[in-house]
Symmetry: C2
């Protein structure tokens, strides 16, 4: 964990073109670099931020994975979402300054932390930063709607099929061209997120296997029949 020294620290990053860093040239880069802590390490189960705490930073995930969750009442927590390398955390909290959720590392992770208030001051001098921000927010909102649609499906199998497709899509830039997918979360976390029981998720996976749409080995999934999976995902009968 340290501040960025030169633009080259960021140019080598595989998420450079999606990051605020891409907006700056060599001359102006030092202004951005000062507000970023690069390559902070988080061990599994460590919290990035906590529900109700002050939300002053945006986080770019460079490797690993996170989940966000909130505790509504005693004993019942709900997982809001999963976040992959290249994605941003804190978008929904930072404008209001209060964290809506707790973010926890699901595996050993590296993140860059950007001071939001300082970033805002740069928007006046770099209009492209506003364009990027709105594009990122629009994308996040679109994914959120798609996820909402996934979760409100009537049957367990269609929810799981849809979830697999969504994670496949989102992990696009991380995967090779193959139809392999690695799910970073446990069955219980996935079930919680989808509003199901862990056992039901297992059974849904078993069903997708028996239909010949996928093969699986614990958290590794291989898609055999993309169209079949999409059919299952969009059909109420499954």
């Amino acid at each position: 964990m340290s501040n960025i020294k030169t633009i080259n620290d960021c140019k080598n990053c595989s998420f450079f073109n999606r990051c605020a860093a891409s907006v700056f040239d060599e001359e102006s880069f030092h202004r951005f670099g000062k507000m970023v802590d690069i390559d902070k390490e988080y061990a599994t189960n460590m919290d990035l931020f906590q529900q109700g705490g002050s939300a002053r930073y945006l986080y770019v995930i460079k490797s690993g994975g996170f989940k966000t969750h909130s505790s509504l009442s005693i004993g019942s927590a709900h997982i809001h979402g999963f976040y992959l390398p290249g994605e941003l955390l804190g978008l929904e909290s930072v404008p209001r300054g209060v964290s809506l959720t707790t973010a926890t590392a699901t595996e050993k992770s590296l993140v860059c932390r950007i001071n939001y208030m300082q970033l805002v001051t740069l928007r006046k001098d770099f209009p492209a930063l506003s364009d990027l921000a709105l594009s990122i927010y629009g994308q996040a909102l679109a994914w959120s709607q798609i996820m909402l649609e996934c979760i409100s499906r009537p049957s367990a199998a269609s929810r799981v099929a849809c979830f697999v497709l969504i994670m496949f899509e989102r992990s696009g830039s991380l995967r090779s061209k193959s139809n392999d997918l690695y799910l970073t979360m446990s069955r219980n976390d996935m079930a919680n997120h989808l509003g199901l029981a862990g056992e039901t998720v297992s059974r849904a996976f078993a069903k997708l296997v028996s239909l010949g749409y996928i093969t699986k080995n614990r958290r590794h999934v291989h898609i055999l029949d993309m169209e079949g999976l999409q059919l299952c995902s969009s059909n109420t009968a499954f």
Copy 2:
């Protein structure tokens, strides 16, 4: 339906302080006014935009109400959300230029239509516009997460209770101080949105009444016990 002539057309609007119009002074207002169609009328069941069509406008609802929905496969459509006066439509579609959903009026409505690409060109000269946009996107994302949490609740009663609380909160500026709430959508639309059957929603309402948390008369709901409703909303046992 017409273009705006002077800033006074907007200053009298009850949503002025939440609208892009608030960013401009009298001098600069004409630049904004040219890109807005004010007070367009939509009858019940008319579409504001359609899934897959080009998304070039943002819409501010002045009166009435809308629902957004998408058709995934033949015969199965899903309702993504409901929109109240003062809220914006098109946020998630406009950055990509393609409408993710179809928006349909649930009652006779008035909307203002803002040309998004033209609005973007104004951001360079009016940094406050970017601030407002990000605040609006952040808020929309936060609501989306809250709605997602509502829908993923395990039991029908808690989903309905949570939905009532959310609509109560969102309609805050529209209501008087009382605990009355008017739901703009039919039971079936609500059920579709929540991933339930219409009959189940009816039964859930009946349960909330029998518990003494609310009274109801068709689409009119009166909240008697806010804490009871919140308890029901956050508890898996209901």
